[in-house]
Amino acid sequence: MNHGPLQRESPDRLYTVTGGRADDARALDAVTLIVSECEPAPGMQSEHAAILLMCTRPTAVVEVSAELELPVSVVRILLLDLLDTGRVTARHPASAVRPAEGHDPETLKQVLLALQRL
């Protein structure tokens, strides 16, 4: 387990990229899949532009975090900016949308079949 980007990252930059805001209650799941709905525009914050380029195909929040070398909760805030302005859409995991129901038997069956094919 390596010590990743945060140790090298200045707190100022973490503050700047998020505009100083804290994570909020609409927290995205770690595996919510993000999809770009537009191209990067000139003058856009570089992290936002990078996310739009990265998410032309569905990309999990943790994958965006790994690619940008920023902690997951910082990436969530960047993604909420893009969601609020319609530049990306989010495909939330069924387990987060209906947490009380657990994983449906069909999903578990398909996971089992896929694992057995490995």
Binding site: G4, L33, P71, R91, L118
Partner: protein, 211 residues
């Protein structure tokens, strides 16, 4: 980050998911340092495992780990993950996560909604797993215990006694370096999750009961 940076062997840095993917699932492999979590993720992942970090947010404080409040410094944790495509809509993310107390905030922030967990155990350091098992039971997260065999060691029944886990929790041997063996651990977990409700009289016997 070193583990993400290279494109050795011409392998693309990220293999994109299908455009139709819309339901991501999680399984978490938890254990002490050096027990083989990253190795297991890499054995079954369809992409080179990535690594990233999380910082403990205010929301996590007080929910589960009051001990973290005493430490005024920012708590961070690095973790690895890989991925297995299930079908055109479903994708399974596998996380390798540290099991120590100070990293447990990851569970609240990242790992809720997981299908379940694999507790990866080194028989020389069984005590490293006690806290993780306690927390998983507290969260009512289904889990299996996988003993990563580095050489001869105590049998599974002995490991079960040392861990003090219920007979209903599956306990399996594995070699985290092996794709087949790691796959079998994940299969055991999903079968456990899919199977009879824990506590019911029809729970299947676990392997070491028959040894």
């Amino acid at each position: 980050m070193p583990s993400n940076a290279s494109e050795r062997d011409g392998e693309p840095r990220r293999a994109p998911l299908a455009a139709t993917a819309d339901n991501a699932l999680k399984i978490v492999i938890v254990g002490g340092f050096g027990v083989g979590k990253t190795t297991m993720v890499g054995s079954v992942s369809e992409m080179r495992p990535l690594s990233t970090e999380e910082i403990m947010t205010q929301a996590s404080v007080g929910v589960d780990d009051l001990s973290a409040v005493r430490d005024k410094r920012t708590t961070t944790a690095a973790f690895d993950f890989g991925r297995i495509t299930i079908d055109e809509r479903r994708v399974l993310y596998l996380f390798g996560a540290p099991g120590q107390r100070r990293f447990w905030f990851l569970w609240n922030q990242l790992f809720t909604g997981s299908i379940g967990a694999v507790v990866l155990v080194d028989t020389d350091r069984v005590q490293d797993s006690w806290y993780a098992i306690d927390r998983l039971e507290h969260h009512r997260t289904p889990f299996v215990v996988a003993v990563n065999r580095f050489g001869p060691g105590p049998g599974l029944a002995e490991v079960r006694r040392a861990l003090d886990v219920s007979d209903r929790v599956p306990l399996v041997d594995c070699d985290a370096r092996s794709r087949e063996s790691s796959r079998d651990v994940l299969v055991a977990l999903v079968q456990h999750v899919s199977g009879p409700v824990p506590g019911s009289a029809t729970s299947a016997p676990t392997p070491e009961d028959t040894q």
